[in-house]
């Protein structure tokens, strides 16, 4: 295809991406370097019967006017990045020098909002992703044995948790695990503890969110693996059987290697999707115990006072995280591509 034709074909799509994905990233960078204007102070002299005294007060009108005229605020450099709400370099340094033990250091770190969000987001991403792959594979192997007539309905039901709106899916489960809901009540009965509540303890909240994540994403892995299973070569399996391979060995040495590229694909998609976990935190009202990076950005933007600079700084740090996460994939694809060209 000629360069010029290519350009005209891709233009609308490219323009949309530049204006609404690339430009916002620039806007995020600019916003993160600014901070809201300080309040304008006026000094007035109050003279009473006992002499005059100077009084400093906030000139609300002038402040509002200044903020109205320059909504971006004043230039702040990298200040926002290092404040307590973000990288908190000063606090981290103090925590390190005053640490009693390494555990104590991490505990102090965990009390800082950004580090807490990073801890949850990374745990969520790296626990959910492998479990989704394992569960998806298990379901695919199981469904593959089901009589053909029942396969359609089974796949239909399996797709539901994935297709449902994340916020709705998490609300549905949230109502069930409520202390007065069916699962919550059953757990209280099982553990013989009428006070048991999955919402109260941070650990249980994390586990609940992770279980939700697996429930939501396992169907995706299942469908991909199931499609892959249809193309496993019968000859190879036959040969393995003749060589005396047990059922488990057939799976381990024939089926799993065949599915390996698919597992990598699922891992890539899951890493991207789990890293931006957001709706479940809201659905499960888990913001206190398990805020994710996306959630703290949302929180900055949603409050009565919108903290643009804070949201922007967290956003940029999140984008850096995404790029680090994707780096191995990008490098690998780049190498593959070069090999193909040469």
């Amino acid at each position: 295809m000629k360069h010029k034709t290519f350009f005209w074909f891709i233009l609308p799509s490219l323009a949309a991406m530049i204006v609404f994905i690339a430009m916002p990233l620039v806007s995020v960078v600019v916003q993160s370097l600014h901070v809201e204007h300080e309040q304008v102070m006026v000094v007035t002299e109050n003279c009473g019967p006992f002499g005059c005294e100077e009084q400093t007060s906030v000139d609300a009108e002038a402040t509002a006017k200044l903020r109205e005229e320059k909504p971006l605020g004043r230039f702040n450099g990298l200040g926002t990045y290092f404040d307590r709400g973000h990288l908190a370099t000063a606090e981290v340094a103090t925590a390190w020098s005053e640490r009693a033990s390494l555990g104590d250091f991490f505990k102090r770190l965990y009390n800082l909002p950004l580090y807490k969000a990073i801890a949850f987001t990374l745990t969520y991403t790296f626990v959910v992703t492998p479990l989704v792959i394992i569960l998806g594979l298990a379901i695919a192997l199981g469904v593959n044995r089901v009589t053909p007539a029942l396969k359609g309905p089974t796949i239909f039901v399996s797709l539901l948790p994935m297709i449902v709106t994340p916020l709705i899916g998490s609300l549905i489960l949230f109502w069930m695990i409520d202390a007065q809901g069916i699962i919550g009540k059953s757990l209280q009965f099982l553990f013989d503890d009428p006070e048991l509540s999955l919402k109260a303890s941070p650990t249980l909240t994390w586990i609940t969110l992770i279980i939700y994540g697996i429930w939501h994403s396992a169907p995706f892995a299942f469908v991909v693996f199931y499609a892959g299973l249809q193309s496993v070569s019968h000859e190879t399996l036959e040969a393995a059987r003749i060589d005396g391979a047990s059922r488990w060995q057939q799976v381990r040495y024939v089926v799993i290697p065949h599915l390996m590229p698919l597992a990598i694909f699922i891992a890539l998609i899951q890493l991207m999707d789990n890293f931006r976990v957001f709706e479940p935190v809201i659905g499960f009202s888990a913001e206190a115990n398990a805020p994710s990076l996306s959630y703290i950005i949302y929180n900055d933007l949603k409050g009565d006072v919108i903290r643009f600079n804070s949201a922007a700084a967290t956003s940029l740090l999140t984008v850096v995280g995404v790029i680090i996460l994707l780096a191995p994939v990008l490098v690998r694809t780049w190498r593959d591509f070069n090999r193909k060209v040469v």
């Binding site: 799509s13 044995r145 796949i155 797709l159 916020l167 809901g181 299973l229 922007a312 940029l316």
Partner: protein
């Protein structure tokens, strides 16, 4: 594979069937339970006394006289005007899908037919864009949109959703177009068509399966979105998902949680129908990306 394997030992058969059954229950029970519970009063769905109340509707009978009640639905759709949100969702979803597909087919076709290095780079950049958490982009929009008075309107959200959707749409359609033989449009060009005429007369008639599948996923993205619609739409322009989140914030009154339950069930119905009618396309769409790698 299974039929050719020969006879399955009984133990393995039971284990595998049991596991699949367990998965079916885990996947479907929450939906059935919520559907059933949405016709009860709050005292049953969140029962302080006994969870079985929800099965028989004990409190529902006491409070309304019958074992089922549509009070939640009435409250959500009529009293809280959920129909507005449903209408807004309809508008946003239809336009997002149509615009996404128009831009995506042109771009995806170009990417599939260009062998140059920049096409590869564009796909890589699209992959990085696809990984961006949507809320990070929203934090970039908010201030300019406030300034230029673009905030709160449906068209703004539609265009933003289209743009966020583009990387995925491009990737998917790109791989579908790779599957359409190059000879098809090459021969049209030999016959004197321009590239666009070749696309118009030769490719468009055969591209529909791929476009429909991609459209389904665009639909899901727009329909399921919370980050963009909750931040960029004003209260009267809200779509269903942020409206449901709104119910939760304001409904600590007894019985009003059931509005949210009813709204959740209502919003799930279209998704349910979608899977019912397009199961094959959804499955093929999920695997298309994987097969291409």
């Amino acid at each position: 594979m299974s039929s050719a394997t020969g006879k399955t030992p009984r133990g393995l058969f039971l284990l595998s069937t049991g596991f699949v059954l367990l998965w079916i229950v885990i996947a479907s029970f929450p939906f059935l339970w919520t559907l059933w519970g949405s016709f009860k009063v709050q005292g049953d769905f969140f029962s302080k006394a006994d969870w079985r109340y929800a099965l028989w509707g004990t409190r529902t009978i006491v409070e309304t006289g019958g074992p089922f009640t549509g009070a939640g639905y009435h409250g959500a759709w009529v009293q809280e005007e959920f129909w507005r949100a449903a209408l807004n969702t309809g508008i946003v979803v239809v336009f997002t899908v149509i615009i996404s597909l128009t831009l995506g087919t042109l771009g995806g076709y170009a990417l599939a037919r260009s062998g140059y290095r920049y096409a590869f780079w564009l796909l890589m950049i699209a992959l990085v864009f696809r990984a961006m958490p949507h809320i990070t982009l929203v934090s970039g929009y908010l201030l300019p949109f406030f300034e230029w008075n673009l905030w709160g309107h449906l068209p703004t959200s539609i265009i933003v959703l289209v743009a966020i959707n583009q990387p995925f749409t491009l990737w998917m359609l790109h791989s579908f177009f790779l599957n359409i033989p190059k000879d098809l449009d090459e021969s049209a060009k030999v016959d004197g068509c321009t590239q666009f005429q070749a696309f118009r007369h030769v490719i468009i008639p055969v591209m529909w399966p791929g476009v429909i599948t991609t459209g389904l996923f665009s639909f899901l993205l727009a329909y399921n979105d919370f980050a963009v619609t909750s931040m960029l739409l004003s209260e009267q322009n809200r779509t269903m998902v942020p409206a449901i989140a709104g119910f939760l914030g304001s409904t600590f009154e007894e019985g009003n949680v059931m509005f949210a339950v009813a709204a959740v069930v209502s919003a799930t119905v279209p998704l349910f129908l979608l899977v019912l009618f397009f199961q094959r396309q959804i499955v093929s769409g999920l695997t298309a990306g994987a097969v291409k790698g």
